[in-house]
């Protein structure tokens, strides 16, 4: 597998499409266990990301991710901004040595660094009912594979996001709800699912 600069831009564009399409749904999920702004936060952030990426010229995938990171950091508002922002910043740093194209091993390493960034920033762990519960299984799949199977990637992310339904939240705002957080999908896990679903779509074309 190779991810080109254009692929990385397509990835972000497809993610943006899903975020905008599901803006209300993300908000509904966050209303159930949070403060109801995840859809608005993500929609605003990715709108700004698209405006930025549209008018820029990129030589490397690392530069694309750097712009995505900085835009999400300054525009999202809410915990998901620093979390996704840090993830893309770490992914960008991890890919600094790569040029126009990124191979599978480097990409897996970048996702690894991105997840470490989320964990460092939010101090949550797998099983706390956050976006980590989607990133961690996706990373595990990538590490255990030699090539990406896009279909398997999408299924893994889907199963992971559905599984957050049954977890009791212990981090983030949802933690204040305790048992009442059970039976609801975590909004950040859902937006992370859109991210990896979009990645699978890019990789299958």
């Amino acid at each position: 597998m190779l991810l080109t600069v254009q692929d990385s831009i397509n990835w972000i564009r497809l993610t943006n499409g899903k975020v905008q399409e599901n803006r209300e749904y993300l908000t509904t999920l966050d209303q159930a266990i949070g403060d109801g702004d995840h859809g608005i936060n993500m929609s605003r952030g990715f709108n700004e990301v698209m405006s930025k990426v549209h008018v820029s010229e990129y030589e490397t995938v690392a530069e694309v991710f750097k712009d995505v990171a900085m835009t999400l950091i300054s525009k999202v508002g809410g915990a998901s901004g620093p979390l996704y922002g840090t993830a893309f910043l770490k992914m960008s740093t991890a890919l600094k040595g790569n040029g126009k194209e990124v191979d599978f091993t480097s990409f897996t390493n970048a996702i690894d660094e991105g997840l470490k960034g989320i964990v460092m920033r939010g101090k949550a762990k797998e099983g706390d009912k956050t976006m980590i519960d989607v990133w961690a299984p996706v990373l595990k799949l990538l590490k255990e594979s030699e090539e990406v199977d896009p279909e398997q990637l999408a299924v893994t992310a889907k199963v992971a996001v559905e599984a957050t339904k049954h977890i009791k939240a212990t981090k983030g705002r949802a933690a204040y709800l305790g048992d009442r957080s059970i039976e609801h999908i975590d909004p950040g896990a859902m937006s992370s699912y859109y991210l990896f679903e979009a990645l699978a779509e890019v990789l299958s074309t």
């Binding site: 702004d37 950091i73 300054s74 525009k75 508002g77 809410g78 915990a79 901004g81 620093p82 979390l83 922002g85 840090t86 920033r121 939010g122 983030g172 705002r173």
Partner: protein, 126 residues
Amino acid sequence: MSNVGIVLISHSPKVVEGIKDIIRQVIHNVPIELAGGTEDDEIGTSVDKIQQAINRAHNEKGVLLLFDLGSAMMNAELAVELSDYDNIKVAENVPLLEGAYVAAVESGLGKSIDEVLESAKACLDL
């Protein structure tokens, strides 16, 4: 001689304005800069606002950041990592109001950033 600068970060602009008012009744020789709310002054925090506040509060003694809830800490830490200065510290596990008050008093006495942070951490024991 300058004193350690203090940046107050909250999800609400009103919260940090109020805290600054309380401190200013007593302390006048300490830089206190505010980063409350998002860019549009909605509820939330903004890395850009925090960075600007750091730049205004900065001097050779350093800057201490105090914050209120969850994502405010994430953005505070991000602002520090993205900053060019190295004598900036985030006051973790310190209540915003009480911590800021104690930090301002200590800073006004000419203490170092580490001393100010130590006192802020112990603010509830006073």
